[in-house]
Symmetry: C2
Subunit: 375 residues, 2 copies
């Protein structure tokens, strides 16, 4: 008996895009969906009410960061992550794997788990599959993730194969360690850019059996074309009746491609982090609000957008706030960018419902030719 229930409502007529519904202990959400990242028990610069207002329905928490500060046992004693951060909707927590591997020289990988030094104070810690699950159970997310090794890019095929085998063993240990019935557990498919390794990983994880399946190890420095190739060839390796999640991507076009190839869930810090750097997403591409060209621009960020920011503030004002280093700059920029991402997902779902996802995808690219789309 799974803690979640996924219903595949329909498939798009002209692509592999899918429309679904995912029921979790904290509510039902439509898919495809974008999950804003709430690293330290807050989606940076936003209140939960504002997340609702921009249309967010599920958010992500970072196990590594919450383990380091304020500590998962404290969060448990405060009633769990939902109550602690005043968000009553679904939450997904990652396993800590990606963050720990990002520590580079500060960590060591063994079969048992990963030893690492805290990025805050250099103290020594160990996260194993069992500990990752224990932390995620203390946090109390609706959806938890298996502890995996996220290999570097590029990496030797032999390294990738060994890593993948360990990730499978770790996934099995995660499932065995799991004790809460009210949390789902997703497996994470690795294998780099290799089709056969991805297939092997997906197969081994399904042998163990999980509530959903994710692709890990993408958006780690590879060319976009390679990422899209993996999305295309790996999607059929995953079961049709379970949610499919691509971890840590990406730019709006990456989500468009992910949906096209049949993925349902996405998360990325791009809309929130870039907002704090003044980079804003619009239907015509990206702009950087720092630009002198916006100094006396009375227009909204995106003339096609109806979010709170675009209804009430000019580019001139937003540029002023950014240059003055005001907190309101981060707030309004984050608000708009999250609204952009989440609205894009809503439009994608409408397109799938109308069997016109391929046209929608073409229109998305056509509109953006006026402005830059690169990173």
């Amino acid at each position: 008996m799974s803690a979640i229930d996924f219903t595949l409502l329909k498939k798009d007529a002209g692509s592999n895009a899918r429309l679904g519904s995912l029921t979790t202990p904290h509510g039902t959400i439509p898919t495809p969906i974008f999950m804003p990242v709430g690293t330290q028990a807050t989606v940076k610069a936003m209140t939960p009410e504002e997340l609702r207002e921009v249309g967010a329905q599920i958010i992500l928490g970072n196990t590594y960061h919450l383990y380091i500060r304020p500590g998962h046992e404290l969060v448990r004693r405060m009633g769990g992550l939902h109550r602690f951060m005043h968000w009553d909707g679904p939450i997904l927590t990652d396993s800590g794997g990606f963050q720990v591997f990002s520590l580079g020289e500060l960590r060591k990988i063994r079969e048992e788990g990963v030893t690492f030094q805290s990025h805050l104070d250099g103290s020594y810690h160990m996260i194993s599959p069992e500990i990752s699950i224990a932390i995620q159970e203390a946090l109390g997310a609706d959806i938890t993730m298996c502890f995996d090794e996220c290999p570097p890019y590029p990496a030797d095929r032999s390294y990738l194969a060994r890593s993948l085998a360990m990730t499978t063993r770790w996934a099995k240990r995660c499932k065995e360690a799991k004790s809460r019935d009210d949390q789902a557990l997703f497996g994470i498919v690795q294998g780099g850019m290799h089709r056969d390794l991805r297939e092997q990983s997906a197969h081994e994880l399904q042998e163990i059996g999980f509530d959903g399946y994710a692709l890990g190890g993408l958006s780690v420095g590879e060319e976009k074309e390679r990422m899209y190739e993996v999305l295309e060839f790996a999607s059929p390796f995953l079961p049709v009746d379970r949610p499919r999640y691509v971890m840590g991507i990406g730019a709006p076009e990456d989500l468009i491609e992910g949906i096209y190839h049949g993925f349902d869930m996405f998360d990325c810090v791009m809309p929130t982090r870039n907002a704090r750097n003044g980079m804003l997403f619009t239907s015509a591409g990206r702009i950087n609000i720092k630009g002198a060209v916006y100094a006396e621009d009375e227009g909204a960020i995106d003339p096609e957008c109806d979010c709170y920011v675009c209804r009430n503030y000019s580019r001139a004002y937003l540029r002023h706030l950014y240059r003055a280093g005001e907190i309101l700059a981060s707030r309004l920029n984050t608000w708009h960018n999250l609204h952009y991402y989440i609205s894009l997902m809503a439009k994608a779902r409408e397109a799938i419902a109308a069997d016109r996802y391929s046209e929608f995808r073409q229109e998305f690219y056509a509109k953006r030719q006026g402005l830059g789309t690169g990173d």
Copy 2:
């Protein structure tokens, strides 16, 4: 014909506290009132809608900062400060005097005006009474202030007397320079801690005639007792039928004393600035949310407070956000502190209406004995 209309509704039976109503081009506000400070065309960390939610009815803008960045002419071209920052309520702008004098070595005072270097890029500028009025007219506030010299503390009596005389001449030049009928202009009473100089200043300003009168040169380093003495002796020098404003104070107790002595308007960065440093105002005194004692405190900041923050977040969560350097920490702390200040003014008005302001003042001090009240 004044751009504003002040109605004295009643005086408290047991003190000099007054209840009033001030009508401005952007709405009518009750007095006594606290004005949140929006230095750079934003009350730091707050949206205008949130300012409304915490009960703010009038805000302050800083002429010096807006002149330096983004520039008053830009604000004028963007439709004035109200439209630029999306605040449709009353605004008061200071004259730039206090900020310019705060620049210390970077400025030189002459009869004509003050030359100074920008704190941002070191560029040279001059603000005279005429230029201050021109800037404030471009910004378009409902209430503007005369350009005055804010003398240092302590200062020789002879310096204060000369300074005061120049401030009077500058006030006259401000009134003569004023060209907009839809803006009020307040005079600023100087004279340090000297009763006779304050009386002279108040008298000379009334000879010129202003829409309201402010006390300047307080909260500049003097003992609280001295400040309260000035509030007590200077209040009767001001006309009964015009709003009385004490500039730049202060702590909650300073507002309580100011109201007690018959003042109507207050502004201070304390609730917003201290919030960003983790200092929170409660009915029992001040707390610093950084404290380890709050690590697992599930209670609200102030059990007597019904603001959004106190209804939804624990001290434990607010401490975590603060320690993690999250933007939401500044937001929620600012929200609560502004709510505290503005609610305190609302309660003061209720007490005056019920002829029990002295009791209210005593209760205010009695409640705070549990926690520290000092700076």
